[in-house]
């Protein structure tokens, strides 16, 4: 037998769990303000997360999907995006959405069960949160294809979880993006769990990054709890996409420290002893340690940041809670551009204007 093709999957880590530099620091990482911005975004995401869970537990928010422990993936990714790139997110990318200008109020509204939460005042072309698993991957290919057809130096960024890589939708999308060399960056937010099914039972493949190989596109793995690595690798993939170099798949290896959602109880399928080591790997501590050592981040800086994030989250939650629900006829408002006659009749019946 002759070997006719060989492949390898690289992995990138720049900050190790102790906050020590173990790789080549990219240029942005020498700028204290840049790192603080990344840190602040992760802290804000975690503050939002804590508030969302508290509101859900007290019956004031719907079922919520936490991003606890995996904040570096969406934050590092969004930091590499330009405003006119388009985010096509799954349901744990709050950090990316906030970075891109989706407001805390809008996120609360969405998770509170109000479509107005997806009517972002900020990134108008970004897709809304996708609840079905992996079905949004082809949309990102369509968005990227649109950019390519218009010869725009932009990219579509699609994030999905480890479970989504088992779906045909994702594999189809990777393949199609490869065929068209569409300017798309796909990110597997591999948090180890698809509800109760661990990564090992999701696929026999050694990495998820290698799902790219079958599609003929580059795939690589990173330490997804290292926000510097995430931003750096995403920078490179996005630059290549925008300049016509085609799509990339990035597998970011992180860990879901929380339940799958507030409707899940992870203690049914995993032991605390399995989870606790991952608290030593999580992204906030890692960057904070580095910031403290390399850039003189102080306890006072930390406390001020935590207070500011909590205050912003509390204020947004108050605004959300004070927002009245839409009236019953609102469900008809955007079903079609123009309401057909038979729906006019249903609307009239519902709102008491008929019969």
């Amino acid at each position: 037998m002759t070997t006719i093709a060989e492949f390898s999957i690289g992995s990138t880590r720049i900050l190790d769990p102790s906050g020590a530099v173990v790789g080549d620091l990219p240029d942005f990482a020498s700028d204290r303000d840049e790192l603080v911005a990344l840190y602040r975004a992760m802290v804000l995401t975690r503050a939002f997360d804590a508030k969302a869970i508290a509101l859900q537990r007290t019956g004031r928010l719907g079922t919520y999907a936490s991003s606890l422990g995996q904040e570096a993936v969406p934050v590092g990714l969004a930091a590499a995006m330009r405003p006119d790139d388009v985010l096509v997110p799954s349901f744990r990318e709050h950090g990316a959405q906030l970075w891109r200008g989706v407001t805390l109020e809008e996120l609360f509204l969405f998770w509170g069960g109000d479509e107005r939460g997806n009517d972002f005042a900020g990134p108008r072309e970004d897709f809304p949160t996708c609840v079905p698993v992996g079905t949004h991957a082809p949309h990102a290919v369509g968005v990227a294809l649109a950019m390519k057809l218009r010869q725009e130096p932009r990219a579509a960024v699609c994030v999905f979880g480890d479970g989504a890589t088992s779906k045909g939708d994702v594999l189809e999308a990777l393949n199609m993006a490869g065929v068209w060399q569409a300017p798309a960056v796909f990110v597997v937010n591999n948090n180890g769990w698809a509800i109760s099914v661990p990564r090992a039972r999701q696929t026999a493949a050694e990495t998820l990054a290698q799902k790219a190989i079958g599609a003929g596109i580059p795939g690589e793995q990173i330490d997804g709890n290292d926000v510097i690595a995430m931003r750096h690798v995403a920078d490179r993939a996005l630059a290549r996409a925008r300049s016509g170099g085609g799509p990339t798949l990035i597998e970011a290896v992180t860990y879901r420290l929380s339940d799958h959602t507030t409707a899940d109880d992870a203690s049914r399928y995993r032991e605390d002893t399995d989870v606790s080591p991952h608290w030593k790997q999580e992204p906030l501590v890692r960057l904070r340690t580095y910031l403290t050592a390399a850039h003189g981040w102080t306890k006072a800086d930390e406390e001020a940041l935590l207070r500011a994030c909590d205050d912003a989250v509390d204020a947004a939650a108050e605004t959300y809670l004070a927002t009245p629900p839409m009236p019953p006829d609102a469900m008809f408002a955007h079903t079609f551009a123009e309401l057909p006659a038979d729906l006019e009749a249903q609307k009239a019946a519902l709102t008491g204007g008929d019969e």
């Binding site: 096509v88 949004h136 408002a333």
Partner: protein
């Protein structure tokens, strides 16, 4: 609309409408399997690739989910994609994309993102095709809020309805009756005029009963109307054309005059679109009814293979028999 142009087939009219829509609007794209140099397995996209090139006529990998899903992404970015699925039996994987994304993108985002796409697919039996090539899934799509579902039954209506479907700001599922693709020719003028997507067409007026159908079954329904006419029974024939949203008024007005109605569909009877029409008539025209509503439909069976499909397909004789049953009530 018709009368002054060249005589063309229904699939020719689809092709003409695609050419016209692409000429009128550079945002219109065609994508699907074999739609490029091959012109589509039924030639619906013939010549488009030569006219508009591979940036507007895109041969896709063989992946139905992504054909629909990519169209959604393109539509959200301001293109007007017309996606072809080669047969409706292969459109079922697209159901997820159409119901979970295409149909609700506008609602989910309160109008921030919209999905002006068309999913085209030839449907229905009677063409002696192999398995999965003869399905009638219109009720499945019509059940989805936020979608329009259109089935033309003549070249002129195919041309006008497809133009309107492409120009519509929301997603449209456009099912083309394969059996009628080349069954008849009709003069169609390439005027660029669309037909309304919220209107039934009264193909024939009559005082005694109302026959309601759509797509390929209009052929047998019109034949049945001729046979009934020979018996001295004047049947009104309505082509529903746009199943969603339904122009209920035209049907109810007709039943109010005739008092009798037979609904004809090729799809399996249970939960088929005929049940929707029967329910609307029962609600909106009960006091006009002189006889129970009759449905002539396919069976709740798997679509048979070609050697026996004729027994499944509603025939003009079955429609006449149903008409005679409703006429028997005095």
């Amino acid at each position: 609309m018709s009368g002054t142009g060249a005589e063309i087939s229904l699939v020719g009219a689809v092709n003409l409408a695609l050419k016209r829509a692409m000429a009128d609007d550079p945002a219109v794209l065609v994508l699907g399997e074999d739609v490029g140099i091959d012109g589509g397995v039924f030639r619906a996209t013939e010549g488009l690739w030569q006219l508009y090139g591979e940036t507007r006529v895109l041969d896709t990998p063989l992946a139905e989910v992504s054909i629909a899903g990519v169209a959604i992404g393109l539509a959200a970015q301001g293109f007007r994609p017309v996606a072809e699925i080669q047969f409706t039996g292969f459109a079922y994987p697209c159901v997820d994309q159409m119901i979970n994304h295409a149909s609700r993108l506008r609602t989910r985002t309160q109008g921030r993102l919209t999905c002006p796409m068309v999913l085209r697919s030839p449907g229905g039996g009677g063409i002696r095709a192999i398995e999965h090539h003869s399905e009638s899934p219109e009720a499945i799509f019509a059940h989805m809020p936020g979608l329009r579902v259109v089935m033309p039954s003549s070249p002129a209506r195919a041309y006008g309805l497809l133009l309107s479907a492409i120009r519509d700001p929301d997603p449209v599922v456009f099912i083309e009756p394969t059996r009628l693709y080349r069954a008849a020719r009709e003069a169609v003028a390439d005027t660029g005029e669309g037909l309304p997507l919220d209107t039934c067409f009264v193909l024939r007026e009559g005082r005694d009963l109302t026959l309601v159908s759509w797509g390929a079954m209009l052929k047998e329904t019109l034949e049945a109307a001729d046979l009934l006419s020979d018996q001295g029974i004047a049947a009104e024939v309505i082509d529903v054309a746009t199943l969603k949203p339904l122009d209920e008024k035209t049907i109810l007005d007709s039943v109010a005059r005739t008092g009798r109605v037979v609904v004809v569909q090729e799809a399996p009877i249970t939960c088929g679109y005929g049940a929707e029409i029967a329910a609307r008539v029962a609600t909106g025209a009960l006091t006009s009814l002189l006889a129970p509503i009759q449905r002539v439909a396919g069976c709740d069976t798997v679509m048979p293979y070609p050697r026996t499909e004729e027994h499944y397909m509603p025939s003009a004789a079955r429609i006449v028999a149903a008409a005679n049953r409703v006429m028997a009530y005095t």
